[in-house]
């Protein structure tokens, strides 16, 4: 469990970091929190020749809200979300979700952006980004590129980022006061990756769902937004009966794979449960 040899750079500016990325491309990896990368290196599952440590880049350590939503810089740690980073339902949701990510010490180091760049299909932040229709800002010496989350994840541990690009910012759309959210996750132990999870956000007016966001994670090679089921919610009251039928539809839509922790049959039932509970919480 000793990593193979690598070179280490700790650039002092973003432009310097981007220049290094452009120079070394696939030979290098960005080191932010290192909570997935460093264990992978110790197991020698990852053998980057070069690490570019971005922890000195204060310009990437930000989180702010404006009229468009929430902007999360690449160095924002999971723990930053323990408190509500923005008033209203979005801040509350992120705070709730953050507590499901691994354990307290890991949350002090690991970053939101790192989770997305790593693209674990059972990552909570990947589900948040997918369900809430995030945009990802990638930077390179070639310029900035804004990637819709729908185009970002290419599968397990695979994203649309080019070899010379740095995931610099995540943009989550604003969520007005009419929104209500629900999140449910089940894992074998506290802090483990989810065996199944669901996130729901509903904008309810006069008892009727006007807008809906619904996503599930841990069941496929990436988090999935269930847009057809969102459509089924809009224009109706989120009654227990409707929620139940949406959960059954979610069950039919997903085709989970099995692993040593969960059979496909179990995972599929679990996803229905997660959808039911997340929606019930949001509708409450």
């Amino acid at each position: 469990m000793k990593p193979s040899a690598f070179d280490y750079f700790r650039p002092a500016s973003l432009s310097e970091a981007l220049a290094l990325l452009a120079k070394y491309k696939d030979d290098c990896k960005i080191l932010a929190g290192g909570q997935s990368l460093v264990p992978a290196m110790n197991f020698r599952l990852a053998r980057p020749a070069i690490l570019i440590d971005i922890n000195d880049l204060g310009e990437l350590d930000y989180i702010f809200a404006d009229d468009n939503g929430l902007h999360i810089g690449a160095l924002t740690r999971h723990a930053a979300f323990h408190r509500r980073v923005v008033d209203g339902p979005l801040g509350a949701l992120l705070s709730k979700v953050a507590r499901h990510i691994a354990h307290y010490p890991i949350r002090q180091r690991g970053t939101f952006a790192g989770s997305l760049a790593h693209a674990d299909p059972a990552s909570e932040w990947c589900l948040v980004a997918t369900a809430l229709n995030a945009a990802i800002v990638a930077k390179s010496i070639r310029g900035d590129r804004r990637i819709s989350v729908g185009d970002f994840f290419n599968g397990t541990f695979a994203t649309d980022l080019a070899a010379d690009e740095l995931l610099a910012e995540i943009h989550l759309p604003a969520m007005g006061p009419g929104w209500r959210t629900g999140f449910f996750e089940f894992s074998r132990r506290a802090g483990d990756f989810a065996l199944g999870m669901a996130l729901a956000a509903l904008r309810i007016e006069d008892g009727i769902v006007r807008e809906a966001r619904l996503g599930v994670g841990g069941v496929a090679d990436r988090a999935i937004r269930l847009e057809s089921l969102e459509d089924g919610l809009v224009g109706h009251a989120a009654s227990p009966e409707l929620i139940d039928s949406i959960a059954r539809e979610a069950w039919a839509l997903v085709t989970p794979v099995g692993d040593i922790h969960a059979s496909p049959e179990y995972r599929r039932d679990l996803i229905a449960t997660a959808v039911r509970r997340a929606l019930t919480e949001a509708a409450a």
Partner: protein, 759 residues
Amino acid sequence: MSHIGRSLRRIEDRPLLRGAGAFAADCNARDQLHMRVVRSPVAFGRILGIETAEACALDGVVAIWTIADVAELPPIDFRQMGLEALAAYRQFVLARDYVRYVGEPVAVVFAVDPYVAEDAADLVYCDIDEQAAQLDATAPPVAFKPDIYPGLLSEPAVLRRAYGDIDAAFAAAEKIVAVEVKVGRHTGVPLETRGALGVYDADKDVVTLYGVAKVPHYNRDAITRMLGLGPGRLQLSEGHVGGGFGIRGELYPEDVLVCAAALRLHRPVKWIEDRKEHLLAANHSRDQVYRLRAAVDKRGFILGLKAEFFTDQGAYVRTHGTTVTDLSAAMLPGPYVIPAYCVEGHIRLTNKTPAGTYRAPGRYESTFARERLIDKIASDLGLSPVEVRRANFIAAEAMPFDRGIQTLGTGVVYDSGKYGDLLERVLDRLDYDQLQQELAARRDRGEHVGLGVACFVEKSGLGPQDLVRIRVDGRGTIEIVTGVASVGQGVETVLAQICAETIDVPIERISVVHGQTDRIEIGFGAFASRVTVMAGSAVKIASEALRDRALATAAKLLQTTPDTLRLSNGTVEAIDGGASLPLGDVALHLEESGGLTGEGRFVAGHMTYPYGIHAAQVKVDPSTCGITIERYLVGYDVGRAINPMLIEGQIVGAAAQGIGGALLEEFVYDENGQPLAASFADYLMPTCHEVPEIEVLLREDAPSPLNPLGVKGAGEAGINAVGAALAAAIDAALQKPGVVTQLPITPARLHAILRGRRP
């Protein structure tokens, strides 16, 4: 002041709390080399060649060995329960002809730092003709090493035990009740992985091995034999040990290789196991399938029990020989009378990591099987599980109770026990009837909650003997030297308490030396919950000898007779007041004649048998298949508690491990024998979130008549019945008696049960 029975804080904690511990990785020597083991990537196959040239060329690599370089080394022998028939199944320190499990050592690299060593190990290429792996211990046996040992099959032994008239029992039965159950493959996972530092002292021509644990004296002798060393040329030195649990400290290939390399390369050699290696290379355990048939009468009394079981021993038979299977066969009847019994225990090899003992070996498994059977008897006959247990208990008046069979070479004779009494105390603590009503009411409201109870007999204090020497110096400080070992269980404190009580000295003056082969010639180590029973008794005997010598000497100096004197707070004083003499002064007076010392040897032909009861209350969420343990109680009779706090600590820690094996931990393999749980991401240890507060009901109702302290062991009480109690509680929560037949009870298995499929 009395010391026995008090929850004194541990005297060994000072260096640990100050960060001054000396664990294996803390040991270093100038110019040391680092060893890295190249491990088999496949589960079974003929070795065609091992290519090391590219790795050897790497800068910093000093040597690379394969079996050809250590061809003279015999395989690792049995420490206990060896049989002639097992000899061919022993493991060589490096793979010979075949690899038989993923993780088997095939080569070792010695390099100037651990990074280079790992780089080089990656470059060693194992050319192996992979063959189909055997992964099911209940399947018909196959060839062990096909063309090397023609006809030698993967069933090294079948152990048979029987007593009573089993045919008559079954002929008289009101009903036959059968179960088939399985306990998954898991093991002890100490926080500190294994490690070793071998240092050769050319001046003295002595090799010293650091980082040892559990059985240093035995391992000294075994390595000495393997390396063909003369007496006194190898010493083993135990430092701090970060957990043992039965698996750590047994003799493994790496220990032998480190010593051999230190001798041959004339440089210190260090090896620190990484976690992935640990999960592949250190002993696995459990992994048994039981098929039980009981002949019962109307009350649920077991007239006779027929048992067949299979132990998945993994790739080789290691130091424990038949121990796990032997203990399983002998301890399966537990606290119940069972007048007729016959059992057949199959030891089967597979292409998995070799197995050995892990805390409550053969009892965690057999208790699960037996208690599942008792629950099934109750449900089949429409009786309460508690009632059936009462009907079967061995009565207190029947003690000592000779089971009529042997284990570990000694007759199974329960020395003392009040099983029925402990059950009533546990039920009382639970407020059992009231609690069952509350749970029934919650179930009526739609919750899935239930209570399970499981009973067991433990064994402890395995002989044959232990030796203790105590010496007082001129300042009145006392040193206890023993050959037992400390794996963190509080040995120093407990032995010091017994000494302080016996000779009435302040405990602060006592230090305890353990696990040092150069300090005492024999020692039998730390396993089988034996240390307090064996070394504790030896300390008492040695302390009494020392006290007698001190009083006799002081009597001469004070011109009186010993019977007028007593020891009090480290001083010899006249019983009627007046003259007194500090113990240190007595020691100074004896300096010329060997000092103030006492020696105690305790020899035991039989083990002691503590017993206990676990009760678990769980809540199941059928939608997620999540299990929450709402309450967990361990009732245990330890005979006599030297330090109740340390016993409770033992019980709580063991219960946590039991929960791991019952709900989380499992070594899973794919169809090719590739391990799928080879890191902490997939081998799930319980954390503080999964383990509830463990309540302990500690009793001293049945002291052992077999030793001068009346003590029994405490190391394995907390783990023994966890699988059994949780299974019963989950049955009750689901109101489906007998549905849990396999550990661990994973969400996917629970899901299969709830959906009516075979798990």
